[in-house]
Structure formats: C-alpha cells, structure tokens
C-alpha cells in the first residue's frame, strides 16, 4: 500500500506556476528524494505534503486519506496531518531547552509525563544527544541543532517524515557523517520519508528512489542506479553526476554517427524513437589510455585537473571536448595523445 500519493499537483505563487502537474507515489517504508536545482518546485511540493502550502489543483493522499483535494475542496490543516518535518534552518526553538524542543509534539498530543520522558530519552539517544537534554537550545552548534531537529521530528513516532534539505547548512565532513546516520536511522525506524535536496551526491546515496525535478515538472523517476546509468534527458544527465553530451545522428537503432565522423555503438532505452541527436557518456565510464575497446576516440589531453579522489582530464576529440574522470593513478601529461574507450552500454541515447 502507498503511504503518500500525489496526483497532478499544481501550485501557484501569484502569477508564476511553481509546481506544474506533479504525480508520484511513495510506498510504505520507502525513502524517496526530490532532486533538482533551486526553484524547481521540490521544496514547494514537500511543503504542500506537510500542509504549509495550499495547492491550486490536484490531490494529496496520505495513508489513503485525502489531505488535499482541489476537486473535493478539501484541505486538512498542517497540525492535523500527522506528518513530521525537518526544516532546512532546523527551526530549533531558541527559548526552550533541548528536552522541551523534543517533547513539544508529545505535549501537544497530551501524553503522560512518564511517556514524554521515556520517548524524549529514546529519541535523543538515537541521535546521540542524551547528555545535552537540559541544555538551552540557543547554546548548541549547527550539528547539534540538526540532531535536536531530527530527534524532535521522530519523537512522536510519525509514520511519515519530510526532510527539507536538512544537511545543507552543515560543513562537508559533518554532512557526510550525518548522511550515513540518517540512512541508518531510516532503516531502523520503519518510517516513510520524502527528502528534498539539490545535492545529487546526497540524493543518490540515501534514497530508494530519486525523483528529478526541473521547472515545476518531473524529469525522471527511478532508483539511484537507473538515474545515473540511464538518464532520460539532457537535463538529468547534466544535473545528476557529470556526463559528456555528444551530438550527432543515429544511422540505425544502436549506431550513432557523432559530429566529426566517429561511429559509436549506443544503448537506446525504452521511450526513444530513433530521431535523437544526443548521447550521454558519464565521465567516470571512459577509459583513458596512451593508446586501445568498443567505442574508440583518439584525442589530445588539453587540461588536467587534480581533485584528490579523482583526476579530471579535458580531452580534445573529433566530436568536441570530452571530460574524463579517472583515479589519480598513472597520471597523463597535458598534450599527450590518448585513446578514449567506453562501452555501448554506457553510451545512452537522450530523448529530444
């Protein structure tokens, strides 16, 4: 059974349309991420699920119950939807202690004192903040506030938790740690979550399914691997991971003549129709060798950029400049003549 169902959701801000006909489902216990650049409507969609934005059309159902229905003129207020949310700014109340912050949702639900104490302790223990229960929330670091916000969101045992870019204000190292912890917590608590981020790495790492959005519409829905290996459009190929886009034309179903004359074997995912003019090749899938594979291109290394975990080369080929990322072993010099090779499986035809 689906926990959350969105159908044809439309949200307007004055004259502009922020979300334009978005539909998706989130299964029980599933972790779905809305990914897209700022202004793509991902946060607005999430806030509509929480009841903080009023849509202009469509419907939102949670656990089979209509929370918003434009046709039925139904709009359940945020406080009655029973979902929980972690805000981008953490929204930890500075005038309360850590304990009072986490206890808020329990007090609203009129739980007994003993239950509140037990539930707060359990939630704080999950985020390793038990020792700071009595501290004033205004005296916490960013990472600690993040943990308090998380504890508060799970304390009243909600079935659905919404995350609005919860890690975007943390430094890179802490973000990587929290990502691991969040994934662990999601598994352990049997919650259904919808997560919003503009960080593609984060989206791929922590989701069961990723929904890529752009200018108010959904570009592609799929698992992390599907999104990465079979991007449907130029936007997805560009935005998620890094990819080279090669222009040209198909000569038959799986043979592609790139601009400049090179012939490439390509994969045509379902939905392509034979008139596409672009293929995408992930920078990580290109082998680069001083000379030899299937799709081979001869070129010259124009630029080498050392990133630490990988080295990025810009290689001039007959079909234009290609970006290649390799492990930092066996460095190639700028100006070196090289052969690039990549398999047809990784040469993906893009819908036009």
């Amino acid at each position: 059974m689906n926990r959350i169902e969105l159908e044809d959701l439309v949200i307007r801000y004055g004259g502009t349309v922020a979300v334009n006909g978005v539909s998706f489902e989130v299964g029980r216990g599933e972790h779905v991420t809305l990914l897209g650049p700022s202004g793509c409507g991902k946060t607005t969609t999430l806030r509509a699920i929480a009841g903080l934005e009023q849509p202009a059309g469509g419907s939102i159902r949670i656990d089979g119950r209509a929370m918003f229905d434009a046709a039925g003129r139904k709009n359940v207020p945020a406080e009655q939807r029973g979902v929980s949310m972690v805000f981008q700014s953490y929204a930890v109340w500075p005038h309360m202690s850590v304990f009072d912050n986490v206890a808020y949702g329990l007090r609203v639900r009129k739980q007994s004192k003993a239950d509140i104490a037990a539930n707060v302790e359990r939630a704080l223990a999950l985020v390793q903040m038990k020792h700071l229960a009595d501290r004033s929330a205004s005296k916490l670091s960013g990472g600690q506030q993040q943990r308090v916000a998380l504890a508060r969101a799970i304390a009243f045992s909600p079935t659905v938790v919404l995350f609005d870019e919860p890690l975007s204000n943390l430094d890179a190292k802490l973000r990587a740690e929290m990502r691991v912890e969040l994934r662990e917590l999601q598994r352990r608590l049997d919650i259904t979550s919808v997560y919003v981020t503009h960080d593609q790495e984060e989206a791929l790492a922590i989701s069961d399914r990723v929904i890529v959005m752009n200018v108010g519409v959904i570009e592609q829905i799929g698992t992390s691997e599907e999104i990465y290996n079979r991007p449907r459009s130029r936007f997805v190929a560009d935005f998620v991971g890094s990819a080279n886009i090669i222009r040209g034309r198909l000569t038959d179903r799986t043979t592609f003549e790139a601009e400049g004359g090179a012939i490439l074997q390509v994969t045509a995912p379902p939905g392509t129709h034979g008139h596409e003019t672009e293929v995408a090749v992930r920078t990580a899938y290109i082998e680069i060798a001083p000379r030899s594979g299937n799709n081979q291109l001869v070129g010259t290394v124009r630029q080498r950029m050392f990133h630490g975990d990988f080295v990025q080369y810009v290689v001039e080929c007959s079909c234009g400049q290609l970006i290649v990322r390799r492990p930092p072993t066996n460095l190639l010099e700028e100006g070196a003549q090289v052969t690039l090779s990549f398999s047809p499986e990784h040469t993906v035809l893009l819908q036009s």
């Binding site: 805000f87 109340w93 500075p94 005038h95 609203v108 009243f156």
Partner: protein
C-alpha cells in the same frame, strides 16, 4: 496635580499593557496570516502618524460629543485616543521583531501538531518577548508625556500631567511648572527602573 500624575501613570500602564497585546495580534495578522485585506490594515494602523495630534484630539472631541456613549471627559476616551495615536509606534516596533522570527519556527510548531492558539502561546509570543517589552516601555513613556491629543480630551475629572504642566505655566508661573516637570520626569524614570529590574530576568536568558 497629584491625581493628574496618577492618572497619567495609570493610563500609561493600562494602554501599554492592553495595547501591546492587541498590537502584537495586529502585527501577526499583517505579516504572518493569509487574511484578506491585511495590506489595508497595514496602511490603516500607520495613518495616525500622518495626522497632527491636535487635529486628531479635536476630531475625537467632536465625534464623542455627538456619539451618545458618555465617555467624553473620562479617562476612557483618553485611553482610546492614546491607543490610536500609539498604534504606529507600537506596530513598527513589534513588526521589526516579528519579521526577524524565522517563519519555520512557527511552521514547525504546526507540523508538530499544535493549533494556532497553542503555537502562539508556546512559540510566537515567547519569541516576541523582547519586542513586546520594548514596545511596552516606549508606549508607556509616550503616554505619560502625551500632550497634543490630551489638551482637548481631558476633563475636570480626568486630568493628565502634560496639559496640567502647560496650564500651570499659564496660571502659576515658572516655579510650580518646573517642579511638576521634574516630578513627571522623575516618576517615569522610577517606573522604568522598577520595570527593568523586574524584567531583567527574562531578557537576559534570550540569546
């Protein structure tokens, strides 16, 4: 003279206390609610600032002489007049604080399951406390020294201090005037010191 001073202090206290709560509600409606016509409310509350106090006092005088509710010549009319002329001051002071409160602090309370009243009581008002206190002090002081509207609206049974000082200057000379002015200033200072002492506790715990 003593009654005038006491009346002024009482009016200042009452108008500041009731006024600040009403103004906080107005500010919240203007900047946070989705209510229709909230833009018009914003203009309306700023309007008293555009009208000279004397003109405003005169207008109220004529209006209430004709309205068959007998509050002319009582402290009630003065309270009403003070509240109206203090609206821009109070609303501007509180608006600054409301706009500084991160909206998600309130939204989070709603998502946690709190209704509007519970959210106001547990999140919005406590966060507004420093602003409410500042507005209270400003309105209190402005009420105690209010002259423009008071001149026309005070009656023999509802004297307030500032116009009394003016009439003392006209009738009794500089010594009495100076003494009254000094007492007025001193009593405001004393009231403020007491208030700061009382409230230091909770202003200091705010970040």
């Amino acid at each position: 003279m003593r009654t005038a001073l006491l009346n002024s202090l009482m009016l200042g206290f009452g108008v500041a206390t009731v006024g600040v709560l009403v103004m906080a509600l107005i500010v919240w409606i203007i900047y946070r609610s989705q209510m229709r016509g909230r833009g018009a409310v914003e203009y309306l509350v700023m309007f008293p600032q555009a009208v000279p106090r004397m003109v405003f006092g005169l207008a109220l005088l004529w209006a209430w002489l004709n309205i068959p509710i007998p509050i002319y010549g009582t402290l009630w009319l003065l309270a009403l007049a003070y509240f109206t002329v203090m609206l821009p001051l109070g609303v501007r002071t509180l608006a600054g604080v409301v706009l500084q409160i991160d909206k998600s602090l309130e939204e989070c309370a709603r998502v946690c399951g709190a209704g509007w009243g519970y959210q106001m009581r547990t999140v919005t008002l406590p966060l507004l406390k420093p602003g409410i206190l500042a507005a209270w002090l400003l309105i209190f002081m402005a009420c105690v020294r209010e002259l423009g509207t008071s001149v026309f609206l005070m009656g023999p049974n509802a004297k307030v201090i500032a116009p009394s000082i003016v009439s003392a200057f006209a009738s009794s000379g500089t010594e009495l005037t100076a003494a009254m002015a000094l007492i007025q200033t001193a009593s405001v200072v004393v009231a403020l010191v007491i208030l700061f002492r009382l409230t230091r506790g909770f202003t200091e715990e705010m970040p």
